[in-house]
């Protein structure tokens, strides 16, 4: 009697372990499943077609297309609302890349304006943009602002090659 009950229990445990093992293997094959952040996704959908995200702390900077025009958007993920960026989005400019620091105060942007491509550093509090020239001369394409805000990594086309410039910020 005792022996039979022990066997059944062993069988159950075996099946449970086997099932868990199979699930683990399946997860290993398919990959880890991350959860989308709701209702942020709905908020992002409302922004229109978007690209080039930079996610740092509570800040998400990206380029979204509204009414056929690309513009830089900075979202505060705590209230999931866009933050005003006065003076940054010009109607005649085409943003290509954006980066934000963890404090959310400065944004680095590569944009095309009047036939040239330029890198600029935007300060929210001052509502000012500072153009950063490439030296030696080159054409920036992509920018990344270090999370602590102290350095830029810029992908630059120079002498027929793509290179990476590191620019320290004060």
């Amino acid at each position: 009697m005792m022996k039979g009950s022990g066997k059944r229990q062993g069988l159950r445990l075996g099946l449970l372990a086997g099932g868990l093992g199979a699930l683990t293997s399946l997860n290993g094959c398919m990959g880890t499943v991350p959860q989308p952040v709701f209702p942020l996704d709905r908020r992002l959908e409302e922004l229109g077609p978007s690209r080039a995200p930079s996610l740092v702390g509570p800040w998400l900077a990206l380029i979204s297309n509204r009414g056929g025009r690309d513009q830089v958007v900075l979202l505060n993920l705590e209230d999931q609302r866009p933050v005003p960026l006065p003076g940054l989005n010009r109607p005649d400019a085409q943003p290509l890349s954006v980066g934000v620091e963890a404090k959310g105060e400065r944004l680095a942007v590569v944009r095309q304006l009047e036939g040239r491509t330029e890198l600029l550093l935007y300060r929210r509090r001052l509502m000012s943009s500072q153009i950063i020239t490439m030296n030696p001369q080159g054409v920036p394409r992509r920018v990344m602002l270090r999370a602590d805000g102290r350095e830029l990594a810029v992908e630059v086309s120079r002498d027929g090659h793509w290179q990476v410039d590191l620019i320290e910020l004060p």
Partner: protein, 185 residues
């Protein structure tokens, strides 16, 4: 008198910042530079939160390969486990460079991968089937991932929560649990 002071101060600062350009900024080419790489291209730079690590994409044996370097020495750290997922795209690093997120490829399908350099664990993420990943940004603490891609013909950005999958990589000197109001250096 006071009415004039504040606007004038802001205007002066704006003029100084805008007018003086970027004189005095310290620049350097990421080492080894283009010449040391044999004239190769180096693209898609990503720095860790405090700049100790630089990830970029270079071409090796005809394939886009992630290169991970200590800064400022430029010493390269091999990431063997990523090899089978070439070509690599869009690297992103956590605060201390513990996590490397990137878009890779497996059997012709683009995949989002996260490598934990502390444990060596490589995590391919299982994303919605109709989402073709293009570009990503890992939050410095590793808790969230912003992903740009194409879904049903539409460009979009989605944010995924990774808090249950990986432990946070915090700025130096910051204890777990104190991230609600991180004090940056």
């Amino acid at each position: 008198m006071k009415f004039w002071v504040a606007p004038l101060a802001v205007l002066a600062i704006n003029l100084l910042l805008g007018g003086c350009g970027d004189l005095g900024l310290h620049r350097r080419r990421a080492s080894p530079n283009g010449i040391a790489l044999g004239g190769q291209d180096r693209e898609q730079p990503a720095l860790s939160g405090q700049g100790e690590w630089l990830a970029s994409v270079v071409e090796r044996n005809g394939r886009q390969t992630l290169m991970m370097q200590a800064q400022p020495s430029g010493i390269e750290v091999p990431l063997q486990s990523l090899r089978r997922f070439q070509p690599h795209d869009s690297p992103s690093l956590s605060w201390n460079g513990r996590y490397v997120a990137l878009v890779g490829q497996e059997r012709g399908r683009r995949r989002v991968l996260i490598l934990d350099r502390a444990s060596g664990r490589l995590m391919p993420l299982q994303l919605p089937r109709d989402l073709q990943p293009e570009q990503l940004s890992l939050a410095p603490d590793g808790r969230r991932l912003a992903l740009a891609g194409i879904s049903r013909g539409r460009r979009l950005v989605q944010v995924f929560d990774l808090a249950n999958l990986i432990e946070p990589d915090l700025p130096r000197g910051l204890a777990i649990g104190s991230m609600a109001n991180p004090t940056l250096p």
